[in-house]
């Protein structure tokens, strides 16, 4: 994803100082947290608890799990993810890479899902790669916690 750097330069008009890295000291920046919370709400729509407070708690609990997942990634993967999240955190990046007009916090589930679909069906490899990265990180982080296993009907490992 050296393509991300190239895209960043083109879109930001070379003013890469404007791009806040998505990872700071190996953890999601506030902007990156907004991206993931919004994306997760859309991806996990139908899987998250229905009751609003429980749903919000589940999303809040997801962020530290994503941090843990990211911290375990090798340096090259952290660097790429940091660039991707940084780019998605800018208005230009969000519109061109994600295809989302409203900002992450105020976008509705339907709007984010439309954006995800546009990434998923894009002819640009970078958009499809980015969609898959977001999808896989959200899924892996969410279902790594035992509290989510009842929705899967998974009883957990046998105690030995």
């Amino acid at each position: 994803m050296g393509a991300v750097s190239a895209t960043v330069l083109i879109l930001a008009g070379g003013a890469t100082a404007l791009l806040q890295p998505g990872l700071q000291q190996g953890r999601l920046s506030p902007g990156a947290q907004d991206v993931f919370t919004s994306v997760a709400r859309a991806i996990l729509d139908g899987t998250l608890p229905q009751e609003p407070a429980a749903s919000q708690a589940a999303l809040t609990g997801l962020v530290p799990r994503i941090d843990a997942l990211v911290q375990a990634l090798p340096p090259h993967a952290q660097a790429e993810l940091s660039q991707l999240l940084g780019l998605l955190g800018t208005g230009v990046g969000r519109r061109t890479l994600a295809g989302l007009a409203p900002d992450w916090r105020s976008a509705s589930i339907a709007e984010v899902q439309q954006a995800l679909q546009s990434m998923r069906t894009s002819h640009l490899a970078l958009r499809l790669q980015s969609y898959q990265a977001l999808h896989d990180i959200v899924g892996a982080a969410y279902f790594s916690d035992v509290s989510t296993w009842p929705t899967l009907g998974y009883p957990g490992p046998l105690t030995i």
């Binding site: 994803m1 859309a42 991806i43 996990l44 729509d45 139908g46 899987t47 799990r65 843990a68 997942l69 911290q71 375990a72 990634l73 090798p74 340096p75 090259h76 993967a77 952290q78 589930i109 899902q113 995800l116 998923r120 069906t121 490899a125 499809l128 790669q129 898959q132 990265a133 999808h135 896989d136 899924g139 892996a140 969410y142 279902f143 790594s144 916690d145 989510t148 296993w149 929705t151 899967l152 009907g153 998974y154 490992p157 046998l158 030995i160």
Partner: protein
């Protein structure tokens, strides 16, 4: 945490020499007879025989030493601790996700125990195309036999779980023969957690067999230590420079964290991709441009089926039934053949396999207990349009595999999706979902067949994974055709042996662990003879 014995912790208490990480500081310099890079399938076999020959052996492992007390059957712990890149290593275009081990025991600590000798077809191809005249069934048979004995490989006599039996039943309805897979287990509890490290020590991985034997005989093991570069001079390896690494593979920034190991002979067994990468970083001689090329993956495509009955694909021994039918429906150098197996499913791997989002994904996820998955291992390396990939280095020296998924390979993938779908409907599936971004669940073979014929079989849109990394330092009988001589020694570096899956000139066409054990067994016995004059056997 189980209350069962932990042979690794017992060994440490007995005084095993283990350094690195929490086990104690590494010295700046070590001198020994043989340095082994890696601790997986090839490294373990090599370490045991060399230590038994009385040689002073140092084993260098980039991952941590984890054992049964640590194996809690939880993916969130296992993937970051035991796998390369947290089980998320990808090819350069991100189209293939590679599962490969990174811990003591290597991929053998996290594999699914499937034991197959190298198919005769594959060996014949090596003899003919790579001038490997002594790689015959008959010549290798005793070495396979010894490995099977040493690692308790045998028929698995417990009834297959439903996820596997569905393959057998569906195939049978179509007149396709399927058979049981032999496994390297002793006293297996039939849990299904092999991929997270065996919590009962039943799986006879290198972690609980050859590495302990070598350590009991006085070998030294460095963990959380990565071999960065060989120092080369006069056609020989002089030393290997190693650094301490953090759990995520980042170098530990410290002036005192470099260890130089000087040895008479070096055994490179870091696994495909990593072995080639170390040689690239070392600027090893490569006069014919073979290094890193022809790296193979058995690219895997998958098909999920929703059954009326409970499947519970997380429970019970994984991968106990297979069919090689589709390897034989065309010549080995014709359209790509594939081997069918049924992988285990656990929550995290399931969630990242199920495509889509929102209500559609939620509906699939809720069907987890009823979900049966088949996988197809595509046999790469036998056709010019399936020539595998090339290992390259990033700016930070880390390895990346550039593996283009050609139209030829993707045509094989389409045929594999069709074959799996037909078997799943024959087994009574209510719905079948090929793992592809544009697919949706299909309610009948007629509907699904038409849909899959029309799918855009592009990389990224098609979910492709790999659990078998092979090649990149291929064996060949002539210098121009490979990196490694038939006796396992590097063509240009006289005291460097390569004893891992990177030496395969093509993919194996079967799960590769036993191919590595058997072939490396022969290579190491030859090395022991040359270094010490002794005749040793593995069992």
């Amino acid at each position: 945490m189980s209350s069962l014995q932990d042979p690794i912790r017992d060994g440490l208490k007995r005084g095993w020499k283990v350094l690195g990480g929490a086990h104690g500081a590494r010295p700046e310099r070590i001198v020994c007879d043989v340095a082994i890079i890696g601790s997986g399938a090839g490294a373990g076999i090599s370490a045991e025989l060399l230590a038994r020959a009385g040689l002073q052996v140092v084993i260098i492992e980039e991952g941590p030493l984890k054992s049964s007390s640590d194996f809690n059957q939880k993916e969130a712990e296992a993937y970051p601790a035991l796998y390369q890149e947290s089980a998320g290593r990808k090819t350069a275009d991100k189209a293939i996700t590679i599962l490969q081990g990174r811990c003591v025991g290597g991929s053998t600590t996290v594999n699914w125990t499937s034991s197959f000798r190298t198919p005769a077809d594959t060996l014949r191809y090596w003899q003919q195309k790579f001038s490997l005249s002594d790689y015959t069934n008959d010549a290798l048979a005793p070495y396979f036999q010894q490995a099977e004995t040493r690692l308790s490989m045998g028929p698995w006599l417990v009834a297959p779980n439903e996820n596997n039996d569905l393959l057998r039943r569906g195939a049978a309805r179509l007149g396709i023969p399927a058979a049981a897979i032999a496994r390297n287990v002793k006293g297996c509890w039939n849990l299904g957690s092999c991929g997270m490290g065996c919590p009962t020590n039943a799986k006879q991985s290198m972690l609980v067999t050859t590495i302990p034997t070598a350590l009991d005989l006085g070998a030294t093991l460095l963990v959380e230590t990565r071999a960065e570069q060989f120092e080369l001079a006069n056609g020989r390896v002089q030393s290997v420079r190693c650094i301490a690494v953090k759990p995520n593979g980042a170098p530990v920034e410290s002036s005192s964290s470099t260890t130089t190991i000087i040895a008479k002979h070096f055994v490179l067994a870091a696994g495909a991709i990593n072995s080639a990468a170390l040689l690239l970083r070392s600027q090893a001689p490569d006069p014919h441009g073979r290094l890193g090329r022809r790296t193979f993956l058995h690219p895997v495509v998958m098909s999920a089926a929703i059954m009326a009955q409970q499947v519970q694909a997380w429970a019970g021994a994984p991968q106990t039934i297979y069919t090689d039918h589709f390897l034989g429906t065309q010549p080995i150098d014709g359209p790509m053949g594939f081997k069918l197996e049924a992988p285990p499913l656990h929550p995290v791997i399931f969630a990242s396999t199920v495509f889509g989002y929102g209500q559609q994904q939620a509906a699939m996820l809720a069907q987890f207990p009823h979900t049966h998955v088949l996988l197809a291992l595509l046999r790469d390396g036998f056709h010019e349009e399936a020539a595998g990939g090339q290992v390259k280095l990033r700016g930070d020296g880390s390895a990346v595999l550039d593996y283009p998924l050609t139209d030829f390979v993707m045509a094989g993938a389409r045929r594999a999706l069709l074959a799996m779908m037909e078997i799943q409907f024959a087994a009574g599936a209510r719905q079948v979902l090929p793992m592809h971004e544009s697919a949706r669940p299909y309610d009948s073979w007629a509907e699904g067949q038409q849909a899959v014929q029309a799918l855009a079989m592009q990389p990224l849109l098609t979910k492709v994974v790999s659990a078998h990394v092979m090649g990149g330092c291929g064996l060949a009988g002539t210098q121009a055709q490979g990196v490694t001589r038939p006796d396992g020694v590097h063509w240009q570096l006289d005291n460097l042996s390569i004893h891992d899956g990177s030496i395969f000139p093509t993919s194996i066409g079967a799960n590769p662990q036993l191919s590595i054990y058997g072939i490396v067994n022969r290579l190491t016995q030859g090395l022991v003879k040359r270094l010490t004059g002794q005749d040793l056997t593995l069992a």
